[in-house]
Amino acid sequence: MILAVDTSLGSAVALIDADGRARADASSPDPLGHAEVIGTLLHRALAEAGEGAVTHVIAGMGPGPFTGLRIGIATARAFALGRGAQVVPVPSHFAAALAVIETDAPESPFAIVTDARRREVAISLFDGVDADGIPNLLEPTVLVPRADADERLRGIHAIEVSTLDAAALARVGLRAANAGRDLAGAEPLYLRQPDVSVPGAPKRVS
């Protein structure tokens, strides 16, 4: 079985068979509270999936609000460590794109858009799937001010998603693993530097 965990939006956990068939799905659309629910969702999904070894753990690498995003990645890695399974990092937008392709089969490029907080959105442009069945990412994911999104999209059909389909994430990850491809590195798709500045001279107090 292949397990997928993603906390880039809500909290989503799913298991699929090695042939791609869905085995279990447990998710919460709440954009907060990932740390509270992730263990219960994982436990519930595994119980629903029944017997079978987990060979791969697909970790949704974002983009997404950092604090929540990291929880799913930490959970996925620790789970994989416990079962001796392989971790497969996958950008979360690939799952949203595959879900769109499987349901709507759009014939032209489209954009997956997610809220990035601070009045910004994350945008990824896709066009169909490649030979491995993995959505074709046309250019690297970008953060843009929400107000500038339309201009940036140049009329490309945009699909804004607020929850993620973990089973679709699992399918993308399985295809990437089978093809021996890396869709993401070990670092989450932060797309933003930590919000800090190097301090200047101490402020005067008198």
Partner: protein
């Protein structure tokens, strides 16, 4: 159960700590610190710390298992810090702990970081068992707390804590005033060598009679930091060179004096002739000396775990869980989160309800 084998995960501040204990025996205390990454900012940056935890966790777990010569399957339980601490940093550890516990189908104990500092003592190699009750003074860059510990697993009372900066933060801020690098504790210590601790009488926060009624065991270091800043500014205004050694020694003396005075007052008031020290600031040699000297004069025994167990670490979290298990406590449910202000009275979080009879 014989002695439980527990792996503890600690990510409340800037140390990724993985500890493994068997009962009260320490098998590994593995720490990956992101301190160097914070140096250029002059203090711990929560987002930088959280990013570093995510990177460090898996290698740290693997290193701890290797050092302890055990496998994940050998473990009897997983333990994790639920709070207090930096929320985003804590959540990385909570996520990992839940993933590991569900993966291995092992019980999970979510515990209190501050009480963990007390538990550090029980896995100190070659030491006599900790006697209760004891007063505990826990001092770090994130907390400054005075506790009355009647029982490690069931009865810890908060006597007082800082109402503004933690003592470690005060060291960092005063180091910056003196153009010394981060972290400030060791830098102030170095700078204070040869300085006169009585050269400048800096204020002792919350020590005046009118403060003592309400804040007998509380601490405040922000006024002290401001007093040092004023003093340094006056030197600059008057064109005098700053006597760095005297300022550092006098500042350190003010911090140490307040910490030790209030801790020993608590020992006297509660009739408890035992004081346990914990937290990273205990690395300060002057603090240890003053505590030992003044406690000896009043008949109080001081215990100081080795520094590797005083700074934040996973072994103390594992040790606390091992004692909770030994005292018959049930594991936590999976439904807890990070609590950045978890009160010290909540030694364990989200303990499972007993199974319904029948």
């Amino acid at each position: 159960m014989t002695e439980p084998l527990v792996l503890g995960i600690e990510t409340s501040c800037d140390e990724t700590g993985i500890g493994i204990v068997r009962g009260r025996t320490l098998l590994s205390n593995t720490i990956a610190s992101s301190m160097d990454e914070h140096a250029r900012y002059g203090g711990v940056v929560p987002e930088v710390a959280a990013r570093a935890h995510l990177e460090a966790l898996q290698p740290a777990i693997e290193a701890a298992l290797a050092e302890a010569s055990v496998t994940l399957d050998d473990l009897d339980a997983i333990a994790v810090t639920s709070g207090p601490g930096l929320a985003g940093a804590l959540m990385v550890g909570v996520g990992a702990a839940k993933g590991l516990a569900v993966s291995l189908d092992k019980p999970l104990y979510a515990v209190n970081h501050l009480v963990g500092h007390i538990a550090a003592d029980i896995v100190t190699p070659d030491s006599e068992p900790l006697e209760y009750p004891t007063i505990a003074l826990l001092v770090s860059g994130g907390h400054t707390s005075l506790l009355h510990v009647k029982d490690l697993t069931s009865d810890v009372e908060l006597l007082g804590e800082t109402i503004d900066d933690a003592a470690g933060e005060a060291f960092d801020k005063v180091a910056r005033l003196l153009s010394l690098p981060y972290p400030g504790g060791p830098e102030i210590d170095r700078a204070a060598a040869g300085g006169d601790p009585k050269a400048i009488r800096f204020p002792r926060g919350l020590s005046k009679p009118q403060d003592m009624a309400k804040h007998r065991y509380d601490f405040s270091f922000s006024g002290l930091k401001t007093a040092v800043a004023r003093w340094v500014e006056r030197c600059e205004t008057e064109g005098d060179p700053i006597p760095v050694a005297d300022v550092a020694a006098s500042f350190r003396e003010a911090v140490v004096d307040v910490l030790v005075t209030k801790a020993l007052a608590a020992c006297a008031d509660r009739g408890v002739p035992r004081l346990l020290l914990g937290g990273g600031v205990i690395a300060n040699r002057r603090l240890r000396e003053a505590a030992l000297d003044r406690a000896a004069a009043t008949g109080v025994t001081v215990r100081i775990p080795p520094l590797s167990l005083c700074t934040d670490n996973g072994a103390m979290i594992a040790a606390l869980a091992a004692d909770l298990i030994a005292s018959g406590r049930r594991p936590s449910t999976l439904a807890f989160g990070a609590d950045s202000t978890l009160p010290v009275t909540e030694i364990q979080v989200a303990e499972q309800q007993p199974e319904a009879a029948g």
